[in-house]
């Protein structure tokens, strides 16, 4: 019985994890977006200093 529960749990875990990865894959930023993000962080950082 416990074995089935564990196997079911593992199945659920893998399915949820995979769905999670797939949805994150769609939301992932492009390297260009990361460039923009870093630049905007640094720009606002500079403005705070001034």
């Amino acid at each position: 019985m416990v074995t089935y529960v564990c196997l079911g749990l593992l199945f659920l875990f893998v399915v949820i994890k995979s769905a999670n990865y797939y949805s994150r894959r769609k939301r992932a930023p492009s390297p260009e977006q990361l460039d923009i993000l870093v630049r905007s962080i640094l720009k606002s950082g500079q403005r705070e200093r001034e």
């Binding site: 416990v2 564990c6 593992l10 990865y21 797939y22 992932a28 930023p29 640094l42 950082g45 200093r49």
Partner: protein, 316 residues
């Protein structure tokens, strides 16, 4: 004007994306674009590239998921009551973990970018502080008298921090050097959104040694502030140089004919010769006004010049 310094500048190593210039300390999470291995803050030799950091974060997060899956499988195996169940559990578990592994491998590139985005958001203050420390380090080097190294450091910082102040500091340093053709120079990242005589001077110098660096943005800058540049001491020669640079490509001639028309009569002979030949060889282009002006100058100054009679392919 101060005497210019002859210097050697090391080439700028360009990365495909600017953020890849970042390094991070494994020990204290200090961000920097300078330095090789040693961290400025904690002194440990723990600097790694941001990509390596992302890869290690990725490995950790993926192993976490795999370990949880393996733990569930292990519990199932330990608690299975018969060899048949044990076999079933092992086979099913291995298949499921393999599926997880494959999905993870496919998601790795996107996941790495996600983790970096999270890291930048989470450590935004540290990121800003790190680059500020880099700039301060450059200023300290300047105060110690090493101008070329200061420029090289500011150039690294400037790849990410795009403020007018940083651009201006780089322009001023460059203007204190004897610039040469073989130097790794740049213009586009240094263009300001207001008029600055040092920048105009720098563009003027580039028009003599690195015409290839003068592109659309630079032409636009010069045209926008033409009046102010003309009021500078050597303003006109800057504009003549830039007009000469526009003759490098037919595209620029088409885009900025009036700039060329205004300064064509003062172009050095070699530049005018090139313009003359380009206009001659492209009768189908709509350059009428320019062609008229070129014709007028030709008749006035070069009609009897031998170089203008022989025809060969212009280059440069």
């Amino acid at each position: 004007m101060n005497k210019k310094l002859p210097v050697n500048l090391s080439p700028f190593i360009k990365t495909r994306y600017a953020y890849k210039k970042l390094k991070i300390c494994r020990s204290c999470n200090h961000f920097t674009v300078l330095g090789d291995k040693q961290c400025m803050i904690c002194g440990k030799k723990a600097l790694i590239s941001i990509d390596r950091k992302a890869a290690s974060m990725l490995r950790r997060s993926m192993w976490k998921a795999r370990l949880i899956a393996m733990l569930i499988l292990l519990i199932g195996l330990v608690l299975s009551q018969s060899p048949m169940l044990l076999g079933l559990c092992a086979a099913g578990g291995i298949v499921l973990i393999a599926v997880l592994w494959i999905v993870q491998r496919k998601s790795a590139p996107a996941e790495q970018l996600m983790l970096l985005e999270k890291l930048f958001h989470k450590e935004a203050n540290k990121l800003a502080a790190g680059l500020t420390a880099d700039r301060d380090a450059a200023i300290a080097v300047f105060q110690s008298g090493n101008k070329p190294l200061t420029y090289e450091m500011l150039r690294e910082v400037g790849a990410l921090v795009q403020t007018d102040q940083l651009r201006l500091e780089q322009i001023l340093l460059l203007q204190s050097f004897v610039l040469r053709k073989d130097m790794d120079l740049m213009l586009k990242p240094l263009l300001l959104d207001h008029f600055n005589p040092d920048l105009a001077d720098y563009i003027g110098e580039l028009s003599k040694i690195r015409r290839d660096l003068i592109k659309e943005d630079a032409f636009r800058y010069v045209l926008m502030y033409e009046g102010q540049i003309l009021q500078m001491e050597h303003g006109e020669s800057i504009l003549i140089g830039v007009a000469g640079a526009a003759i490098r490509m037919k595209r620029y001639i088409t885009l900025y004919p009036y700039l060329i028309i205004r300064y064509a009569h003062k172009l050095p002979k070699e530049r005018f010769l090139r313009l003359y030949r380009m206009v001659q060889s492209s009768p189908h282009r709509n350059w009428e006004q320019l062609a008229d002006e070129v014709e007028r100058i030709y008749n006035e100054k070069y009609k009897w010049d031998e170089d203008f009679q022989t025809s060969h392919n212009p280059n440069n």
